[in-house]
Amino acid sequence: MIKSRSARQSISSDLLIIRVSLWRLAILNSALAVCVTILSCGQGQSERTEQADKNHGEWNRFHAENEYKLIQAELKLTKADQPYMVLDLRENKLKLKLKGAVVWSYPMDFASTDSDEVKEFMKRFRGNEGIFARPVADKYLFAAEDRTPDSVLAIVGEAIRVDPELLQRDLPERFQLLWGNGLILEIRTDISGKPISKLQNAIVQIKQALSMPFGETIIVLKIESSEALTLYRAANRGMVTLIYPPM
């Protein structure tokens, strides 16, 4: 009786071990399945790049077609009176262009990201379809500092009969430009301003942290505050952004 009980105990402990290992197997299988599916997302891009590389050598139609489309798109943009943005990886500069001329530029000296993240950003920007133009979908200001003291603006406003609020320019401390598809360019400056809304900032950050596993790429660019002011004010929702080179 004692024997059989110990035998039963041993069998049940064996079963427990088997059950545990089966659960592990199931978890492992699931993890593998997730990895395979997620990896398949990026397959289209690598296939396309391989195809492009194979064709390298003679007059490369694939590259020429893309470059041609980019030029055509830019030519269209030069007809408008509004500037457009260029992420120029040939010269490593972020530019604002108006009618084909550079009106503002800043070196892209990425601060807290290594080049792999920048590459990932560019890959994501182009997507599987090789897109080289995306409109700015949104911008979000985290913190800013008043450029001119309110007391000065009050005097000026009274003298020229203008609402001082209209004269103020926020010097951004930190803001983000978003293009959708998980593409975020974060601009940071050297000033320490006041948060625009602590609650809103927290919500935005949590939302972005939650989206991260589904492919959000944030690259950080450090810019002088006065230059950041230009970018912040000029880069409005809908501003078309081109990427050089197109592929």
């Binding site: 199931a26 699931s30 399945a33 997730v34 599916t37 997620i38 398949s40 997302c41 007059w59 020429a64 077609e65 470059e67 041609y68 489309k69 030029i71 055509q72 830019e74 030519l75 269209k76 943009l77 030069t78 408008a80 009176d81 509004q82 500037p83 604002l96 108006l98 009618k99 084909g100 001329a101 550079v102 009106v103 503002w104 997507g127 379809e129 897109i131 133009a133 995306r134 409109p135 979908a137 450029r147 001119t148 603006l153 000026v156 020229i160 009969r161 203008v162 004269l167 320019r169 293009w179 959708g180 589904f214 492919g215 006065s226 230009t230 912040y232 004010r233 000029a234 809908g238 078309v240």
Partner: protein
């Protein structure tokens, strides 16, 4: 046996879940709503014939290159109130300016109204004037609650525009100011005010025909 089914079903459910997420991600990757202005250029292809394609490519490239100014050009940045003389790659001269306030003025007597914006776009320097006199327009009197003068002489002000003025069309000028302390703030009626030192440098370096880009 049932347990085995469970071990198969769990990975399957996870797999389906992962596939749904993938579809969602791919949905996010869908072509962006690129401005209608350039949407058709994304569909423009080169001709099938290589020689024709090369020619077409070169033509497009040259059209874009032509738009780059061949001489140093003026850029007026209304966002940060900066004016610079620059080339494609470098800034030659830069100064703080003042641009339009964006305010609106309505003449209650006649209903006429003005919006004091600096125009955006591309212009050319079309006049260079030393010791310019300002011919005060009607709004200058309406703004000050003064009567509009009947004679031209009453409209003229020899001080307000500083020592130099560069006209760039439609009555707009880059000129000096007696209110240098306000440089950097958008307070003007549309003209671009510049400090006297920067103005002299710009005036000396710039020729008639120099492009002026305002954004």
């Amino acid at each position: 046996m049932r347990r085995w089914i469970l071990y198969v079903i769990i990975p399957l459910v996870v797999l389906i879940g992962a596939m749904v997420i993938t579809v969602l991600i791919k949905g996010r990757n869908a072509l962006p709503d690129v401005s209608a202005v350039i949407a058709d250029s994304l569909l423009t292809n080169l001709p099938a014939d290589v020689k024709r394609a090369e020619k077409e490519f070169e033509k497009a490239q040259n059209a874009l290159l032509k738009l780059e100014p061949a001489v140093p050009y003026i850029v007026i940045n209304t966002h940060s109130n900066k004016l610079c003389l620059r080339t494609e790659d470098s800034i030659l001269v830069e100064g703080t300016c003042s641009t339009g306030s964006g305010e609106e003025l309505i003449d209650s007597a006649t209903g006429r109204h003005w919006i004091f914006n600096t125009p955006r776009g591309v212009f050319k320097v079309n006049s260079k004037v030393k010791e310019p006199w300002w011919r005060k327009p009607d709004w200058a009197f309406i703004e000050e609650d003064e009567d509009i003068p009947k004679t031209e002489a009453e409209r003229l002000d020899p001080e307000m525009l500083g020592e130099y003025a560069l006209g760039f069309g439609k009555g707009y000028f880059i000129h000096g100011t007696i209110y240098e302390r306000l440089l950097g703030i958008s307070v003007t009626h549309g003209c671009v005010r510049l400090g006297s030192e920067d103005l002299k440098v710009i005036y000396d370096k710039v020729k008639i025909g120099t492009p002026v880009y305002i954004f």
